[in-house]
Symmetry: C2
Subunit: 232 residues, 2 copies
DNA sequence: AAAATAATTTAGTATATACTAAATTATTTA
DNA sequence: TAAATAATTTAGTATATACTAAATTATTTT
């Protein structure tokens, strides 16, 4: 049987390994709120078991094997479906779902997964805009970038929010910086990296430091060179 | 923190101790599919921890302390609310819910409990007719008896079904022997303890052995001595 | 009540997972 | 490149929980 710990480790490795980069012991330890020593121990176990879930060589970080990645995607699917269900069906707010989903994801059956997927109408994104792996574990990659890389006068659409800190999420919700929102970068201060952003057509604009702007991902909206038709 | 094991032990002790009788090591072991030796070990731990969850003396079985009973009722509430939710909101059948609920009950938060309780309209009974402890952990006791104790020509209303064996539950469902059904005992065979029962006004009657009749609880329906008004 | 049987406990072991402190290896700085 | 710093691993320990085999205690039969 695959334990809760195993599942959370695999998920964490997947999340930290953008593309297929190697993940360091320390990064994992921080993400999971464990000591590096504990992580080393666990990684060895994951690497040694048959079939192996990770590739691990001392001092060189870990990677998921393809089985490990499958399992990570499966649990990620469960996590994100659950988050979506909690919001859509049970009235949770988006800052309350992470913890609950992180416990439930280890307890639900395939049947449960299928039922909530069906009730929700096979959603593609969770409340934070993160893509939900399909039932055959395919996951669409978008070309979003952190808001911190945008500069005036770019326009963009917010597409997802990293990080699960409830305070951050509540703040973003209050500002209206939620997935789907259209924004315009109106100013940037080099000195303190504060971005001034117009959300929709709202006034006044709001200002966010890099702590926030690094956590919010957006896709650039290219201004049509001429004409006034709606962009598709 | 109180672990999943602790919660399942407490629930099992509660369920096996009808009234407040003492529960034997062996009975617990059977109920939990563990060896008696393992149970002894766990009971010692539960008895010794501060505050104690059970009272335990060698060779004399266990009882819940009042804290242990509170915790058992809390987890029982979660179990039964979940079972109800799975049936009502997610389309499970009553033979599919036990296992799922027995995993989920350890993973949900108070918030989750409150939400499903609200969505369901504060149900009093789970799909098997078992009473759901209220949020302040009060549980109504009914005066139902096993069907095996009934004799012709008694009439009764089925009020709950013990046991979680899916095969039994599917059988009962097919027969129409579900909580709420009115029945009449039409025959009893001393030799093999088979009861013939009319369910509602259905024909033909059905016959059940003691394996089934011991698991089905019913409340006797006293025939009004005269008149044809509806009994309240 | 002795013998037989059943129930229960003890002793010793195993696994998964976490921790701390110390040792080692890798990377950066001077 | 040597020293300083950072990252990682090793070694040793702890906890919760389960198991098996053997020992003990309780109950039932003769
Ligand atoms: Mn988790
Ligand atoms: Mn999410
Ligand atoms: Mn359970
Ligand atoms: Mn039930």
């Amino acid at each position: 049987m695959t334990t809760q710990q195993t599942q959370d480790y695999l998920k964490a490795i997947y999340e930290l390994a953008s593309d297929h980069k190697t993940v360091s012991t320390t990064a994992l330890a921080e993400h999971l709120f464990l000591t590096p020593a504990s992580v080393t121990g666990m990684l060895k176990r994951l690497a040694v078991q048959k079939p192996a879930l990770v590739r691990y060589k001392k001092h060189q970080g870990v990677q998921l094997t393809s089985l490990g990645e499958k399992m990570a995607l499966q649990i990620l699917r469960q996590h994100r479906l659950l988050e979506t269900y909690l919001v859509e069906a049970l009235g949770y707010s988006w800052d309350e779902v992470h913890e609950e989903a992180c416990r439930l994801e280890h307890a639900i059956s395939e049947q449960f997964e299928n039922r909530i997927d069906a009730v929700l109408g096979r959603p593609q994104r969770d409340p934070h805009g993160d893509p939900i792996p399909s039932s055959n574990l395919e996951i669409p990659m978008d070309r979003s970038r952190p808001l911190s890389e945008f500069r005036p006068p770019q326009k963009a659409v917010i597409c997802r929010v990293n990080g699960k800190d409830p305070a951050l999420l509540r703040r973003l919700d209050k500002l209206g910086m939620i997935p789907g929102a259209s924004i315009t970068i109106v100013d940037y201060s080099e000195l303190d990296q504060v971005l001034s952003i117009r959300i929709g057509t709202r006034e006044p604009t709001c200002s966010v430091g890099s702590t926030i702007s690094r956590q919010v991902l957006a896709e650039e909206l290219l201004e049509p060179p001429a004409g006034d038709s709606q962009p598709s």
